[in-house]
């Protein structure tokens, strides 16, 4: 099955969307932050392994811009 990606409101781990590829997830994150710049630090894209465990640090737009 491989990695999956979820767009997450980081404060409460609210899932906003799930994606089969990193590219799809990044596109969704970029669209969201373009519409709502304040979300840059609040929403992240988080990889999940085959068992549904979140892996690593979330990708946020503000991190990507540094």
């Amino acid at each position: 099955m491989g990695m999956r990606y979820a767009l997450i409101d980081l404060a409460h781990a609210d899932l906003l969307g799930e994606y089969a590829t990193l590219q799809q997830g990044r596109r969704a994150l970029e669209d969201l932050v373009r519409d709502e710049p304040a979300a840059a630090d609040e929403i992240g894209l988080l990889a999940h392994d085959d068992n549904g465990q979140p892996v690593g640090e979330p990708i946020t737009i503000s991190l990507a811009r540094r």
């Binding site: 979820a6 980081l10 404060a11 781990a13 899932l15 969307g17 709502e36 999940h48 979140p54």
Partner: protein, 133 residues
């Protein structure tokens, strides 16, 4: 003879186990189930149980605009802690109250559920759990 009732141990039900297509959402009453959610203070506040403004975007299904992510175990919720100060609260979805729960986003995390209830109701049944990780 009436058809056999489905087993009750696996609630909320898995839509695929019922032969439903991917993306189907089967909400059931909370019925006393314990679930876990990230919160920002101890004790939690009602703001910890309000949908965020990001959930009201037009590309988020309306079904999820008013529901809140919870997880079926402490560890599953704690695995999402990425910020200092985040805590895990146990929320008892007390039976007999207007609280519904469904498995959602299970392709990503099989222990993820969405809960629908008022912030006040969830807050009244929430307790921060302190556990060494």
């Amino acid at each position: 003879m009436s058809p056999a009732a489905p087993p009750m141990a696996d609630l909320p039900p898995r839509p695929d186990a019922l032969g439903l297509p991917a993306g189907a959402v089967v909400a059931v009453p909370g019925d006393g189930l314990d679930v876990f959610r990230l919160v920002r203070s101890d004790p939690p506040t009602a703001d910890d149980f309000r949908p965020s403004r990001h959930q009201r975007r037009r590309d988020v299904p309306l079904l999820f605009a008013v529901g809140l992510s919870h997880y079926l175990s402490f560890d599953a919720a704690a695995a999402y802690i990425r910020r200092p100060g985040s805590l895990v609260a146990r929320v008892n979805l007390a039976a007999g109250l207007p609280i519904h729960v469904a498995r959602t986003f299970t392709a990503t995390n099989p222990l993820h559920v969405t809960v629908w209830a008022t912030p006040e109701l969830l807050l009244a049944h929430a307790t921060v759990v302190h556990r060494d990780r």
